[in-house]
């Protein structure tokens, strides 16, 4: 494992290196994925571009028109603890908080987690649920790619050889939105997920019906998977246990776990866990969305049906 090492102190400096080396160089942010991969011989770059000291790549900033901007170097820990993100974007905080263990979270970055692109990444389903966009830069200029389109295979992204991820743009979720990301493993957050589920629900405050639903599965296919068919049956509906069960059933059917021998779980078991945990995540997300609503005589609530 031999490589050259550069530490550009600005984005243009990083761009110059990328333009010259393209796929022969890897970007190093925190290193918790890349260093392991290089030592295992999975990645053998000629050079490593450490972007960790570029100030413009850090920080969580609210945008003027609402929404938020998160620099690629923001660590999982910073996201987990961010007060700005906890009010409104907390599904992302939940995702970040469930990455591995504290030592990893202190170093691992949102950009790194996203660009590493494993299907079980804990922050990507949350980013997708929030409708986040990745802002990329290359010598040709900036472009914006929705997270839903960012991954095109296990560990594969649409990043071009001379392109790097600068930041994430996340629109402000409407009021009365609740989100839940959960990660299921037999050993707490320490392991990669057997299934990860991100559920985001927005309710209409006047009638308590679902206005928007997002259901994203992690670790159930070559990339994180958005289950549109499950989302659509929730729209315009009231909170209902059997509705969640049906949505979970659809999600289980659409999940694409690898049928071969897996170190973590068999495909049938993953599917079953999608069924169990999608339901749970949807209920939780809905509960959170409702938390801001006034559950009085304004509209009917089926008390027995309250999950």
């Amino acid at each position: 494992m031999k490589f050259e090492y550069w530490e550009p102190d600005s984005i243009p400096a990083a761009m110059a290196l990328l333009e010259r080396y393209r796929e022969r160089a890897k970007i190093l942010a925190g290193g918790t994925d890349l260093v392991v991969q290089m030592r295992r011989g999975i990645m053998r770059p000629d050079g490593v571009i450490h972007i960790g000291r570029i100030p413009e790549l850090k920080g969580i900033l609210p945008k003027v028109e609402g929404g938020i901007r998160i620099g690629t170097l923001t660590t999982m820990r910073e996201i987990e603890k961010s007060e700005i993100l906890q009010s409104g974007f907390d599904i992302l905080c939940q995702g970040a908080a469930q990455v591995s263990c504290p030592q990893i979270r202190n170093v691992a970055t949102l950009g790194g987690n996203t660009c590493n692109g494993v299907p079980s990444a804990d922050t990507v389903p949350a980013l997708m649920a929030l409708g986040a966009e990745a802002i990329l830069m290359s010598p040709a200029g900036e472009r914006s790619v929705p997270l839903e389109k960012f991954h095109n295979g296990p560990g594969r992204t649409i990043l071009k050889g001379d392109e790097m991820l600068l930041r994430f743009k996340i629109p402000a979720p409407p009021p009365f939105t609740g989100g839940c990301y959960l990660k299921y493993t037999p050993r707490g957050t320490f392991e990669l997920a057997i299934v990860g589920v991100a559920a985001l629900i927005t309710l209409n405050p006047r009638d308590g019906l679902c206005e928007n639903a997002r259901l994203i599965l992690g670790a159930c296919g070559p990339t994180p998977l958005r289950v549109k068919n499950a989302e659509s049956i929730l729209l315009g509906k009231r909170r209902d246990k059997s509705l969640f069960a049906r949505a979970a059933e659809i999600a289980a059917g659409e999940a694409k776990p690898n049928p071969g021998v897996s170190v973590r779980a068999s495909a049938p078991y993953r599917r079953e866990m999608v069924r169990v945990w999608s339901r749970y995540a949807l209920e939780k997300a809905w509960q959170k969305a409702e938390a801001g609503l006034d559950l009085s005589s304004k509209f009917e609530v089926n008390k027995a049906g309250n999950a």
Binding site: G31, T32, V35, C101, G188
Partner: protein, 161 residues
């Protein structure tokens, strides 16, 4: 071609100059170049936690960080935590509560616990179990480690009064 780069690392309060190849991890440089063998290698991929040191106040797994990344940062290892005459409360508690058996996980475990207690002096047992769960121990079953960290927490709280 000699690819070593000269960097300065601040380790345990002292600035040290080292010549390192880019692919060397912080763990390797601490152990091989600086002789600080308290941090250990127990696995291949950042899972056991035996390599944990504190960088800029945060517990990190030094096997996952290239040494060059640590330039300009303040690094604290087990060797800088206390001395035989002046043990850190965590070190004393690990002795008093029999939280040490083979001792291989001990330095990493103590450093992770220190980072936790520094940030959260009121850490509960649940906090301790959750925060240290990236440090694996095969000998103790973790019971006396939790006991020791709680005892250190209580002693450190008293000292602040």
């Amino acid at each position: 071609m000699n690819m070593k780069q000269k960097i300065e690392l601040e380790v345990n309060g002292k600035t040290q100059e080292v010549f390192v190849e880019p692919w060397k991890t912080l763990l390797e440089v601490l152990r091989e170049d600086l002789g600080l063998t308290g941090a250990k290698m127990g696995c291949d991929d950042g899972n056991c936690g035996a390599c944990t040191v504190i960088v800029d106040g945060q517990a990190i797994k030094s096997c996952l960080m290239l040494a060059l990344q640590a330039r300009g940062k303040q690094i604290l290892t087990i060797e800088g935590l206390g001395s035989a005459e002046n043990l850190h409360p965590l070190q004393q508690a690990f002795i008093d509560h029999f939280a040490v058996q083979c001792g291989y996980c001990t330095p990493g475990m103590i450093m992770t616990a220190k980072a936790l207690l520094d940030e959260k002096p009121e850490a509960t047992e649940e906090d301790i179990r959750e925060n240290l769960h990236g440090n694996i121990c095969r000998c103790t079953g973790y019971v006396k480690i939790v006991e020791a960290v709680e005892a250190a927490r209580d002693r450190m709280k008293k000292r602040d009064i």
